[in-house]
Amino acid sequence: MSDPMPNPRFAFAGHLTAIGSLVAGAGITLMPKDDLALATVIARKGQAGVLGERVQALFGIPLPARPKRAAAGKIAFIGTGPGQWLAIEESSGDPQSFAAKLATEFAGSGSVCDQSDGRAVIRVSGPRARHVLAKGLPVDLHPRAFGPGDAALSQIALISTLLWQIDEAPTYEIAVFRSMAGSFADWLIASGAEYGIAAMS
């Protein structure tokens, strides 16, 4: 083996382009979140309580029982269904090891599956973010209905999406199946074009 390890190719590679002149304060900013480690965690039968205690003890995070995002430090858990969560580690240098670590920690109480490559996550922010998302997401994102810490499993442009809000800027992160990142980016760009799009890597 003399060849160097191949470079990863991320899901949004080649699919994002900036559009229009960004008027000051307008537009949206897109940023692929390639540095996230993702893992699905499903409670074993009758073990949800034990799992919750493990998560609390390890990360200081109360496992949300609803579509909410609970975070502490680099770790977050998003409720995606009864007894199911998406666990996220920010700026993860080694995504596979996150799932492996969780699997060890949750042995007997939760089944863990690495999804770091299965989902592509993109961050959408800027004052026009709500206007753009309203063109595809059938969820009310008005601050009185949806705020930081809220999450929704839904569909945008016929693509299954898991969306959560990070802050009041507003900043959202959206996870889609990796293979549909290109189609999702096409929709984002078509929908955001009138406001101007900045794409960051």
Binding site: N7, G20, D114, D140, H142, A157, L158, F177, R178, S179
Partner: protein, 996 residues
């Protein structure tokens, strides 16, 4: 050509911006108008009263209304790819450079050859097509229909692709107010002041409704000034969304409304990145329908002549647009509201020649008004016929109260037959409107949950009631949405009376009297319908086409009903009503498609090696939503078969690689994972050792095969299942159903990992040599360490974690290597360079298909929804020791009959013959008939290994007929050849190559 001056523009007044002039063209003639004009008002200001020709008789038609109910003034707007037929001139906002053409005329609007249809009108009456063009049948398609289509019809659609874009959007609010007239504005103010989030929609480009068109006074201000203040207040409120140019066209379940926003239609072309139209789905806790009312006509002879106009429309043109549709006007009204026209005409300097009011006695104030206008007053009179040409109206015949007929010279006639509340939206969930005798109109019956009707839409036509309704219902809606509302005081407005005497049709007309202008339905057509027995409303509609045009009979339906009621001696409510369906006004198909057109019709799924495959010049094929490499043409290869043969030969002779990431992959964990698999698969999995893979098939409840694939055991409590590409989602759904509904007691956790892994099949005699070069040193993948149907965890290319499955679809020594999807691109490149010295090829789905057919593996074509496991040669897999889904039903006698079509192989007796999938099997010499059908060919391929075509098929008692000859009969492609039944495994039947 320089445009002529706007000869009919009033010297002052109107809500138009006279400081700016807009140029436009109608039928090639240059004209001018002002911002604030519609195309219709600009045409009137330019003295153009002829707007088009009618649908069937090519009658000259003018402008009847000033709104979206317009049946006559339909034009082709714009040109080239943007040409849009049947656009209502009354709703088109004038823009600089607008180009419009009249429709349905040849060679010109003034002189139209097809108006000969009018002379032939006896043969165009209702029911004529049904009765006349019945025979001979062959003439219908070739002769009658093309003729009729040329003679009748509306505009011409552009045949070019639509250059504009459309989008969809979602909105949420506490209170949706539909209609921005006085009622709607007041309701919005009332709800907004309570703190509710309000969306106010109006189809017009300006809010105000009738406030723009009448000389109203509210709280001592003009209606227009009051409106401006109201709109200003709403605009300042951040919780209010004002949507102009937005038609709420449909009401749907759970308080959801469909609305069309015309974002760029008032511009010559939409701005860059601006959609032309946006389709809104509005979810409202409460909705107030304040859509107003539509003025209705009176049916008399020549009532469709250019120059005849609704009285309210005439006032719109005079008051709002400062354009005079006539200079010597007649007014025909059966109600007080129509009399407003007289005062407005006096103010605008339009001469009122005569007022014809069928009521026997009218209020004294109106008599005085007629005197003031210098108009002849015909109390108890009727307009029987209007006479004119394409150039305009000339006179009207008035039947006086004493029975004399007098002719009055006029160049315009305003008509008011009363008002019909716009209740369409209350009917979209199935309710029907109900009749109210006191106003002689239909009003809302049951209203959908969460929707209230307000103002003129309820039949309260006077401004005072409208404002009061808005105040009250806006506050109630806010309250119902959870706000504390303090209803504002109702603004003061002058009193109005209706005083309507119903009059639907004048008897004794000598000329054609129209009910439905757009579909050219006359009063006589209704008489014919009645005579022929089509008396039910639904029959009347379909027999005469009354109300079936693009305007859905907004100005026609009630008159038509009333005429039928009179003919049958019933009341109008006894006669019935047709209900309304969405959309309220037509919506372009493009708006419903939104972003999803062309390649965006549905999402496309790309494989992890897609970018690499595209670099190789791969030919792609759609497999469900996936785009997969079908074959990889090499320079000089022009024929797909050449490429595919090369790929197959390379795999069988050396090594090849194929991206198989699209197959469904389901991670199954938990103490009872094996039990779940035992119950969904026909064969056992709980006893499968860790590190082993097994082929499995699963059945539907009815015993038919649902899917197949391999499942590997990664740990005592963990499996990974693979499914076919096509059934990935269905199988996941099936497993979740089984777990959640049938066996919730099982400790099982499942999740799809299809997208997590890039998976490559590396197949061929040199597969292990190739793999060996990629694997990080510590792993042993020798035949001993990793035998056929084994699985192991490895790292490749210097640390990429992966799984290596020793499984084969091609029948060769083969592996499937799975790596995290982000490394798919890098790893396919590494595989290609590792295999280069062995002559590795990339192969696509075609070669994959050829090799699986050569090996006799059933796939999608064989898993056709009728085949059982036995039919597919999988009978021996069906466990006798356990229960599984489909076991009982698979034992039904019909499903175990040996005569069922079962899997077999086929070769052409003449090896040069080509096989065709879909060909049916017949006994040699048997007559081709369904009763002689023995089954059909499901899959075929040219086998480069055998140098002839091979096929798989389902044929009666197939496994016991090897060696027998039958016909493969393919009448669609004129194929009828002799084939020999054989084993479905054409290559390496002992499977030796798999195990080396």
């Amino acid at each position: 050509m320089t445009p002529l001056p706007q000869s009919r523009r009033l010297a002052s007044g109107g809500l138009i911006d006279r400081s700016r002039t807009l140029s436009f063209q109608f039928d090639g003639k240059p004209m001018t108008g002002h911002p604030g004009d519609t195309l219709a008002s600009a045409l009137i200001a330019n003295g153009t009263i002829l707007a088009g020709r009618s649908f069937k008789y090519h009658r000259p038609r003018g402008i009847l209304t000033a709104g979206s109910e317009e049946p006559n003034a339909l034009v082709e707007l714009r040109s080239g790819a943007r040409r849009e037929p049947n656009t209502k001139a009354t709703t088109v906002e004038l823009f600089d450079g607008l180009v419009a053409r009249s429709q349905n005329r040849w060679p010109s609007l003034g002189f139209d050859v097809m108006s000969v249809n009018s002379l032939l009108s006896p043969i165009f009456v209702a029911g004529f097509y049904y009765k006349t063009f019945m025979w001979p049948a062959a003439f219908w398609e070739k002769l009658y229909e093309p003729l009729i289509r040329r003679a009748a019809g509306l505009g011409r659609a552009s045949r070019e692709p639509d250059p504009d874009s459309y989008e969809k959007a979602f909105a949420f609010c506490d209170v949706l107010v539909i209609g921005g007239g006085p009622t709607g504005l007041m309701a919005a103010l009332s709800a907004a002041r309570a703190g509710a989030h309000v969306i106010l929609c109006d189809e017009d480009f300006s809010f105000g409704g009738r406030l723009l068109s009448e000389q109203f006074v509210i709280d001592g201000q003009s209606g227009a000034d009051w409106k401006a203040a109201a709109v200003f207040e709403l605009e300042q409120n951040p919780a209010v969304t004002l949507m102009r140019r937005t038609t709420v066209f449909g009401g749907y379940d759970q308080s959801t409304y469909g609305a069309l926003e015309r974002v760029g239609d008032h511009l010559p072309v939409p701005l860059p990145h601006m959609p032309r139209q946006r389709l809104w789905k509005i979810v409202a806790k409460r909705a107030v329908l304040a859509a107003g009312a539509v003025e209705r006509q009176i049916v008399f002879g020549g009532n469709d002549r250019p120059g005849v106009m609704m009285a309210s429309a005439l006032r719109s043109y005079v008051n709002r647009f400062a354009a005079a549709p006539a200079q010597r006007l007649g007014l025909f009204t059966n109600n007080d509201d129509g009399w407003k026209t007289v005062a407005d005409c006096i103010r605008a300097g339009i001469k009122v020649e005569a007022v014809i009011d069928p009521r026997p006695a009218i209020p004294e104030a109106f008599r005085q008004l007629a005197i003031q206008a210098g108009a002849r007053l015909f109390e108890g009179g009727l307009v029987q016929d209007a006479h004119g040409t394409a150039r305009g109206l000339q006179s009207i015949d008035v039947m006086t109260s004493t029975g004399r007929t007098e002719s009055v010279a006029v160049d315009g006639l305003a008509v008011s037959g009363g008002w019909n509340p716009a209740v369409a939206l209350t009917c979209h969930l199935g309710a029907r409107p109900v009749w109210r005798d006191d106003i002689s109109a239909f009003v809302a019956g049951d209203t959908p949950p969460g929707l209230v009707v307000a103002g003129a839409a309820t039949g309260a036509f006077d401004l005072r009631s409208c404002l009061a309704d808005g105040v009250r219902l806006g506050a109630e809606a806010a309250q119902a949405a959870g706000f504390t509302a303090v209803a504002p005081t109702v603004p003061a407005a002058s009193e109005e009376t209706l005083g309507l005497m119903p009059l639907w049709k004048v008897t004794g007309a000598r000329t054609k009297a129209f009910v439905d202008f757009q579909n050219d339905v006359t009063a006589k057509d209704i008489v014919i319908a009645e005579r022929e027995g089509f008396r039910s409303v639904e029959h009347l509609k379909r027999y005469t086409t009354l109300g079936m045009a693009t305007d859905q009979g907004k100005t026609a339906n009630v008159n038509g009903l009333a005429i039928m009621a009179a003919l049958t001696g019933r009341s109008i409510p006894e006669t019935g009503t047709t209900t309304f369906r969405p959309p309220y006004t037509p919506v372009a198909i493009g708006a419903f498609a939104g972003h999803h057109r062309g390649k965006h019709f549905r999402p496309t799924r790309l494989t992890p090696s897609h970018a690499w495959a595209a670099e190789q010049g791969a030919q792609f094929v759609e497999a469900g939503q996936w785009l997969r490499a079908q074959w990889f043409p090499k320079p000089g290869e022009t024929d797909w078969l050449t490429s595919v043969n090369r790929e197959v030969i390379a795999v069988r002779g050396a090594v090849g690689v194929c991206d198989v990431s699209t197959l469904g992959k389901i991670d199954i964990q938990g103490a009872d994972a094996g039990t779940l698999l035992d119950r969904v698969y026909i064969n056992g999995f709980s006893a499968l050792p860790v590190g082993k893979v097994r082929y499995g098939a699963m059945l539907r409840e009815d015993g038919i095969v649902m899917d197949d694939g391999t499942t590997a055991r990664l740990a005592q409590d963990r499996y990974v299942m693979s499914t076919t590409t096509a059934n990935a989602a269905k199988v996941m759904q099936h497993l979740e159903f089984c777990h959640q509904v049938l066996w919730p007691e099982l400790d099982v956790q499942m999740v799809s990992v299809t997208e997590q892994w890039a998976q490559f099949s590396i197949a061929g005699p040199r597969a292990r040599d190739t793999i060996q070069k990629l694997i990080d040193p510590m792993a042993d993948v020798s035949n001993m360490a990793l035998p056929y149907m084994g699985v192991t965890t490895i790292t490749v290319c210097g640390g990429i974690p992966g799984r290596l499955f020793r499984i084969s679809f091609s029948g060769e020594l083969a592996y499937e290597l799975a790596v995290p999807a982000r490394y798919g691109d890098g790893v396919i490149r590494a595989i290609m360079s590792a295999g280069a010295e062995y002559g590795i090829v990339a192969y696509g789905t075609e070669a994959l298909g050829v090799m699986r057919i050569e090996k006799g593996h059933p796939a999608g074509n064989e898993l056709n929804g009728t085949a059982t496991a036995r039919d597919l040669g999988l009978g021996k897999l069906m466990s006798q020791k356990k229960d599984f889904i489909g076991r009982v039903m698979a034992e039904r006698s019909g499903l175990t009959n040996p005569d069922r079509p079962s899997l077999a192989g086929f070769v052409p007796v003449n090896r040069a013959d080509r096989l065709r999938a879909g060909a049916h099997f017949l006994g040699l010499g048997a007559h081709p008939s369904a009763s002689n059908d023995q089954g059909y060919m499901t899959s075929v391929a040219f086998s480069p290994s055998l140098s002839h075509w091979v096929g798989l098929g389902l044929i009666k008692n197939g496994p016991n007929r090897h060696g027998e000859r039958v016909r493969a009969y393919d009448p669609v492609r004129r194929g009828d050849i002799e084939v020999e039944i054989c084993s479905p495994v054409f290559i390496d039947p002992e499977g030796g190559r798999l195990r080396v």
